[in-house]
């Protein structure tokens, strides 16, 4: 057997196990302190901050959505309100128009009535005047015709009765 092979392959060397075991624990402690600790902590922190910013973005998004929804709602309400106002104004204007027309018609009617009444009055007056005038004229004519005998007063009564009889007819 090759003497070199005496220390080969399957030899379980306690000394090496001890060296590797002890130094591995040492490396582990150093790595934990100087490498893995900070790295894992940084990764966790970064992940947390990413998660936080995602969450806050989500929150901002939902808030913006809410606001825009609210705005939409307000806009819609305003539109409805405007429509209502316009409708109301239209109705009022219509009413006013109708009123004005009505009023002017009634006024015009009143004016016409008044005019008609005054015309009637004038006519009445003119009739009266005419009657008296006609009576006088008739009296004059009759006095002219009949002359002296006839009393003016008696004649006038006669003529008046005559004219009354006329107008009644």
């Amino acid at each position: 057997m090759n003497p070199v092979l005496a220390n080969a392959l399957l030899n379980f060397e306690t000394g090496i196990v001890l060296w590797v075991g002890i130094t591995f624990v040492l490396f582990f402690v150093l790595l934990k302190k100087f490498a893995w600790g900070p790295v894992l902590q940084a990764l966790e922190q970064r992940e947390k901050s990413i998660q936080e910013s995602l969450d806050s973005a989500e929150k901002a998004m939902s808030r913006a959505e809410e606001i825009s929804k609210k705005n939409d709602e307000a806009l819609r309400q305003a539109e409805v309100e405007a429509q209502r106002l316009r409708k109301e104004a239209k109705e009022e204007a219509e009413k006013i128009r109708v009123d004005i027309i009505e009023k002017s018609r009634s006024e015009a009617e009143a004016v016409r009535d008044q005019t008609l009444a005054s015309i009637e009055q004038e006519k009445q007056k003119a009739m009266l005047e005419l009657r008296s005038h006609v009576a006088e004229l008739a009296l004059e004519a009759a006095s002219k015709i009949l002359n002296a005998e006839l009393d003016e007063k008696k004649n006038k009564k006669l003529v008046d009765d005559f004219i009354d009889g006329l107008s009644k007819n």
Binding site: A6, L9, G15, V20, E44
Partner: protein
């Protein structure tokens, strides 16, 4: 492609047919001229020197605890001290010339009666390469941690290929190995251990692929040490439930416990044992395969002459390249598997079984699927 492979196969078969005699010749070659034979095994064992072949050979110090603490700068100076002697020279004293003869077996025994030393705490090349791996991990990830500390990657995105690549691996291990096995609450306690395991083992595995490099994980002592740390990690953190499942499996008849308890106790040790053997065997096999493939060139040269040897070299070198690529993959895979199973065992020890008694069977069912 198929035709080429078929021709290559037939060619090999043809060469094999005439090879038995020549093969025997190789076997009978004496160890007196070790330069003549392809000594694969001597390349793979642990040594008390670091050799950069063709450049220099560096002897490592020997530390012996036997009748007190002895420290020597090299094996040769230990031999010359008169207290210890190389086992080979103890058995063949006529070959030893004081001050001239170098060590042969590197196994030291007491000069006076030849009894083996009590504890050989010498630093071997595998220990040195293990330290290099640990220092490399410390260097790479210490620098990475400084980057994170300075704010890059903490508040901003990671910068640079190295940082991104490292982060991909760390985050993958953290999420898929540590968190999925140990759970969200306790992961921070065990992630540093598992990450250390992964990267130190990975670098050790990859060192073997470098020129002059060594794979300490192809040594059972090194993988055993790593598995022992996992063993402590598992059993020091075991919950009440975990120990209850070992010593008093709930829901099992009392008589069955006579069988169950020894099996469960055995199970405590077979888990780290399997970890050690799996890593060691895989790494050693890959190494052996590469050396054997390349060794075929020299065997063929010895059997059929230089021309055939060099000609068939094309086949062996392409096979070697294939195995080499496989080894790169296996380096990552084995480091991952070691970490994965460590995490699994730790997770099992931490698990709260009170709600369900059949959880433990799951990981056991997984084990046979990992022959790699």
């Amino acid at each position: 492609m198929v035709k080429t492979l078929r021709i290559a196969f037939l060619f090999c078969l043809l060469l094999m047919l005439g090879g038995f005699n020549a093969n025997a010749e190789v076997d009978t070659e004496t160890p007196i001229e070790p330069a003549q034979e392809v000594d694969i095994l001597s390349k793979m064992g642990d040594r008390y020197y670091i050799e950069f072949e063709g450049l220099f050979k560096f002897y490592l110090p020997r530390i012996i605890i036997s009748d007190g603490l002895h420290f020597y700068s090299s094996t040769k100076s230990a031999m010359n001290s008169g207290v210890f002697q190389d086992q080979f020279y103890f058995e063949n004293p006529q070959a030893f010339e004081a001050g001239v003869s170098g060590p042969v077996s590197y196994t030291l025994v007491h000069t006076d009666d030849g009894r083996p030393v009590m504890l050989d705490m010498s630093i071997s090349k595998h220990v040195v390469w293990f330290w290099l791996s640990g220092l490399l991990t410390l260097l790479i990830f210490g620098r990475l941690a400084n980057k994170y500390k300075s704010g890059i990657g903490r508040e901003t995105a990671p910068r640079g290929a190295g940082m991104n690549f490292a982060e991909v691996m760390i985050v993958y291990l953290r999420d898929e190995v540590v968190k999925s096995n140990i759970g969200e609450e306790k992961y921070l306690k065990f992630a540093p251990y598992l990450l250390s395991c992964f990267f130190i083992i990975l670098f050790m595995n990859l060192f073997g692929l470098m020129p002059w490099g060594q794979t300490p994980t192809a040594d059972i002592s090194v993988t055993a040490a790593l598995a022992i740390t996992t063993f402590f990690m598992v059993n020091l953190n075991g919950t009440k439930d975990y120990w209850k499942h070992v010593f008093a499996m709930p829901g099992v008849p009392k008589l069955m416990l006579i069988i169950m308890i020894p099996v469960e106790i055995l199970g405590l040790f077979t888990k780290p044992f399997a970890l050690a053997i799996r890593l060691f065997a895989n790494m050693l096999a890959g190494k052996m395969l590469i050396l054997s493939m390349l060794g075929m060139i020299f065997i063929f040269m010895g059997m059929y002459g230089t021309g055939v040897g060099l000609g068939s070299g094309i086949i062996w070198v392409s096979f070697t390249l294939f195995i080499y690529a496989l080894k790169v993959f296996a380096a990552f895979l084995q480091a991952f598997i070691f970490t994965m199973f460590s995490a699994l065992f730790i997770g099992m020890a931490l698990e709260d079984h009170s709600h369900d008694h059949h959880h433990e069977e799951e990981p056991d069912g997984l084990q046979p699927a990992t022959h790699l």
